[in-house]
Amino acid sequence: MLERDVRRDFPILNIKVNGKPLVYLDSAASSQKPNDVLQSYCRFCESRYANVHRGIHTLGEAATGDYEAARRTVAEFINAPELEGVIFTRGTTESINLVARSFGHKFIKHGQSIVLTPMEHHANLVPWQLVAKAVGAELRFIPLKEDGTLDISEARKLIDHTTALVSVTHVSNVLGTINPVGELVQLAHKVGAKILVDGAQSVPHMPVSLRELNPDFYAFSGHKMLGPTGIGVLYGRPEILADMDPFLTGGEMIREVYLDHATWNELPYKFEAGTPAIAEAIGLAEAVRYLTSIGMERIAQLDHLLTSQALNKLSREPDTKVYGPRTQHGAVVSFNVKGIHPHDLAGLLDREGIAIRAGHHCCQPLMRWLDVQATARASFYLYNVPEDVDALIEGLKVARKVLA
């Protein structure tokens, strides 16, 4: 699909699963890692490793330099307006929890509203339930239209002068819906509300420019974009971050500590307590370089092509229901085959070497909206090829035969 044969860069694609070549269609859960990322991880540990920000020795300076360079690389990748707004976290979940705790508990007041959608991942729902309960705020949900897109006319009414925060996913990890984030940012800002965007499924798959989108917070995970586990990012607008209380406390995030009190370090360090995931940040920067070398536009095109093929072919399969919008679709396809539990679909496809995901995808409320217990989900990334879609369809036919 791409000029370069990227599949060769991913050693795991050579393994056999149950005697069949691996067809990995679960990148929305987590992506595989290219050689470059693993090598840069090891090279760093083998020649430049030390703790950061404190060591006055060559390795300490090298590691600090690399870690801060990784921050710059990531900041440029998402076109962040300010470097000091880029905070390394473990992943999207920690990023959102940071905002819930340090912004939500402090700035969202009794009687105000937090506007979400029914398609949020639990990571962008449960933290707000707890904030709402603790401060006495109201949760509001922008309803979905039948095709799984947001009803923006309802959003216009729901986002009002009571709204303190809008928190929405950029791309749904179940429906594939790409939400009109730019518009939501404007709706939020018009009423003086802040907006957080969950970019877990967008940053890996499309060009994202925070300067253009202009959100107050943006969260994503390294492991879904070819990077290591254990690393993720929160972008926050520095003026807001400055007013927020710290999240975790300890070393690195402090300025002065006395027995009975302490003062905080400057941004972004105020929000990076303790030894960070140093080698993982460096691996993430390498993942960003890898993605950039291919080009996010090209990756988005490829994802789109594969997803469209899958949508088309799946819709033509008997007894198969496909969820989510038909156009403007992220790199995931959710579906169900009548009479077959998605777990069994996944289990039977696995016999053919095909890895899909089955379950609630951390979106139980959305499952209720779809009126299903679970869905099967195939998701795509730059190392997938049209043959993978064919394998999926063939696999489904086999599964139907086995369980018929």
Partner: protein, 141 residues
């Protein structure tokens, strides 16, 4: 991965034994695996210390449904204390993947591959955990 979709398992899935309600049940217990949505209801008829009848209803994946079907076949006619040790045996088997000494596990042997599938252990044990809950309720009465 040894194939879990064996013919024995598929047979129990396609033609579940003792599926449905009981005419005169003494106890009926619900079990749920919220993480994957599987649901089951066990219906028991007790004859003193003995489980004289057992049936199930529910929906879920082939593993959870076949396992429930196997459970009903296996436990019918046993005393409550036999049921208890059978639950222990099954649970040990599902964790370790090796058949325990003593009485054969019969068709349940076909679930041995589940031991290597941590995500699906819960599917296989759902019926058995529900049975355990049933025992607790019987004890309380």
């Amino acid at each position: 991965m040894s194939d879990i979709y064996s013919e024995i398992l598929l047979d129990h899935y396609r033609l579940p034994r003792n599926k449905g309600k009981l005419f005169q049940e003494t106890i009926s217990v619900e079990g749920k695996n919220p993480l994957c949505g599987d649901e089951i209801v066990l219906h028991l008829k007790l004859d003193g210390e003995r489980v004289s009848e057992v049936a199930f209803e529910g929906s879920g994946c082939a593993i959870s449904m076949a396992s429930a079907s196997m459970l009903t076949e296996d436990l019918k006619g046993r005393t409550l204390s036999e049921v208890e040790s059978r639950i222990d045996q099954f649970r040990h088997f599902i964790r370790e993947g090796a058949e325990p000494e003593g009485e054969s596990l019969n068709d349940m042997i076909s679930l041995s591959g589940v031991a290597k599938l941590p995500v699906r252990v819960k599917c296989a044990t759902l019926a058995w955990t529900t049975m355990e809950e049933a025992l607790r309720q019987v004890a309380k009465k």
